[in-house]
Amino acid sequence: MPDEIKTLSSQLAQDPDSLVFLRLGELLRHKGQLDTAHRVALTGLERHPHLPDAHDLYARILADRHDYERAFDEWDMALRIAPDHVGALKGLAFLYFKVGDVQQAAAHLEAAQRVAPDDPGVAQALALARGEGGAEPIAPAAQPMEEARVFAGLEGAQEGLLLLDASGRVLGGALKDPAGRDVTDAVAAYLAGVSQEAARTVKLLGLGKWTGLAAEGNLGHVHLAPPSSDALLLVVRDRAVPMGRLAIIAQRAALAARRWLEAHA
């Protein structure tokens, strides 16, 4: 395997647009070299943003790093590009299992089985979900997947999601910069000012209420939205995630955050 990694690395260096990054990323992932695998997958994804296998590889690496929210987004994207992508269907089924949503897990596995009827892993997982073969079926989810994902993010996300009240106090989530430093409090303080200025701007210009602020940066993208009149939700992603997708992620996160706020009011 080390020889294969070396060979593939060399091929990729000679031709950065080559698809060998898929195999290389997978080998690195198997070896547990997740940081390197992450870099290879992300670079490959930037060059091939419409390749479902690239999203699938990235999602698997994210899942290995326990970044389930992003893994979900990547598998979701793979399915949008290729609705029959077996890897993405299995990946999403795995995530639904993790939050206890057996119905959704089974639905995705059944779809995978239709595409790949000879895949033993799919059959085994499906049996588990249905409680066949003596295995106990997994209890249904206490809450929908959307909410579970955002809720999990708010209850200790490592990065990428921040929920604030109108004064800039953190209600949930956390944020780290690319160097790994916790920037939650600093960003929260600045965001309160951004939100106030956004509200004032649209009011004085007669544009109604503001519904979102999307910004594209050199190193990453952000989307700020008010899930309620006295809360703010910030979603941050690196540049590999296009702005349009970030908007969809932010919309879903805002909906889930709204339900979370109502439940905690």
Binding site: D177, Y190, L204, G206, L207, G212, A215, G217, N218
Partner: protein, 119 residues
């Protein structure tokens, strides 16, 4: 080297031609003063420039703190309209005010082109 003022008008023209754009302007980011404008009736130029510049400053600080780098483009969405902005390296903001359902991708392209002209 910055373009002569006549080129500003042309750059703004290309932005305002996009369907749904109600006006475009160049704003000095530092002091929020209008540099050049092409606005439809009813849009308050000085208010737009001052507020866009103030919001741009606050957003820049938040983005720097979050580690996502300098802003390349931002889009404020509201119920009855939108503000789309591209900052230039020379300290100018290229601003468009538009209908809420404007083609954001197209406006963004024209703003980026205008930013290259303005410098």
């Amino acid at each position: 080297m910055t373009a002569p003022a006549a080129a500003y008008g042309k750059a703004l023209d290309l932005i305002t031609r996009v369907r749904g754009v109600r006006g475009a302007m160049l704003v000095s980011a530092e002091d929020g003063i209008v540099v050049a404008e092409q606005l439809m009736e009813g849009i308050k130029g000085p208010a737009l420039s001052a507020l866009a510049a103030s919001l741009a400053t606050r957003l820049r600080r938040a983005m720097e703190a979050a580690g996502v780098g300098a802003s390349v483009f931002w889009h404020l969405q509201a119920e009855q309209g939108a503000l789309l902005v591209v900052p230039t390296p020379g300290g100018t903001l290229v601003v468009a005010v538009a209908e809420p359902d404007v083609n954001v991708g197209l406006v963004r392209l024209e703003l980026l082109r205008a930013a290259e002209v303005v410098g």
